[in-house]
Symmetry: C2
Subunit: 219 residues, 2 copies
């Protein structure tokens, strides 16, 4: 990588991280638990939020990050949550969200009475992990269909998260997945990771997810 590119990258990261620290403090002061969901496309971030909206008694808001479309924001709104869409556009800076964009979004969202703010990051297991959006918890999702090796191959998303949600457990009978190996690989990359296994479709394991939210709500 060229030196000039590195310098620019460092400057962007420094600006991002400063804003992230501010956001973390502001949301804490407001009593809003702030959670950043990261995963590959199709790992089930939106489905987890839909199930949560329907079955978890709390006031939720979601900031949706997508390169294009408002499909997820519509799904979230239909599920009864306040939703705000950030589209990062078709080219350049489109593979992740940054804290400054969250701050701008928050100027448009009324957080009064909101218990939990979720950010659904861009579907990408690489770039979002490089940008702190100031959340109280970074949570990485991985579906049972993605294989045991992903934590080793994409370690940063797992190192920079404190909770890993293994999704789509209902599909396990039809897969060759060695779930213990997957969990061992997660722990190898991040020994302190809390792991929650669930299926948003059948509801199996959702109680563990709701317990996690209960235990960490700020108000």
């Amino acid at each position: 990588m060229q030196e000039r590119e590195i310098k620019v990258m460092k400057k962007i990261l420094a600006t991002n991280d400063k804003m992230a620290i501010e956001l973390r403090a502001i949301l804490k002061e407001q009593g809003v638990l702030y959670i950043n969901l990261m995963s590959s496309p199709g790992s089930g971030k939106t489905s987890l939020l839909e199930n949560t909206a329907k079955n978890y008694d709390s006031n939720l808001a979601v900031i949706e990050g997508d390169i294009e479309t408002t499909l997820d924001a519509k799904r979230i709104a239909n599920a009864g949550m306040i939703s705000y869409q950030i589209n990062t556009g078709p080219f350049g800076g489109d593979c992740h969200l940054e804290s400054g964009w969250i701050k701008s979004a928050l100027e448009e969202i009324d957080l009064d009475g909101i218990d939990i703010l979720f950010v659904e990051n861009i579907g990408n297991l690489v770039c979002p992990a490089e940008f702190d959006v100031g959340a109280h918890f970074n949570i990485v999702l991985i579906s049972t269909t993605e294989g045991e090796d992903k934590p080793l191959k994409y370690p940063l998303a797992f190192q920079n998260s404190s909770v890993c949600v293994i999704t789509k457990t209902d599909l396990m009978p039809y897969l060759n997945l060695d779930i213990q190996q997957l969990k061992d690989n997660i722990k190898k990359v991040n020994p302190k990771m809390k792991i929650i296994e669930l299926s948003s479709k059948t509801g199996d394991g959702m109680d563990n997810w709701f317990n996690f939210l209960n235990n960490n709500k700020l108000s």
Copy 2:
């Protein structure tokens, strides 16, 4: 995005694209079909290559792109293909492959007698599509578990590919997927896309994939 960042990005892309054009011509002259596989993590790129190595009678070489680990290169080597690993490292420029890195890899690989060179790009549906690696075909994979909406949400990977392989069709009985909707969305983003449906696990549909390779081999 800041103006300075855009300038650097444009310079990198121009260098990349120039090298990509050279690579495309060099491989054509050598009679080697050159295919770039792109998808999310866990969509089944390595499994498709493993099945191809076992069941398709041809001399194959694979350049594996991963942020970390040589797990895929080992799987590929075990399946009997020549494999070369590029690790992009843990931070910065790690979300895609560039044509210059392929060129460097090719200096280490003996292409004599090779019919097809595959690049297995970084598992990421966003960044790899922005960087032409000079392949004769960009092929995007999407698994049946990822949902119907991904072509609309990550259009560039679908616009910049000429073939879309829908993988893991064996899981369809256990999913709510509307495959016609998925195909409609692919065609909406890229009306000329050739679509191949298959399961690397059961072998269903692999004949269509092998036919595609047969029809496009250069020697």
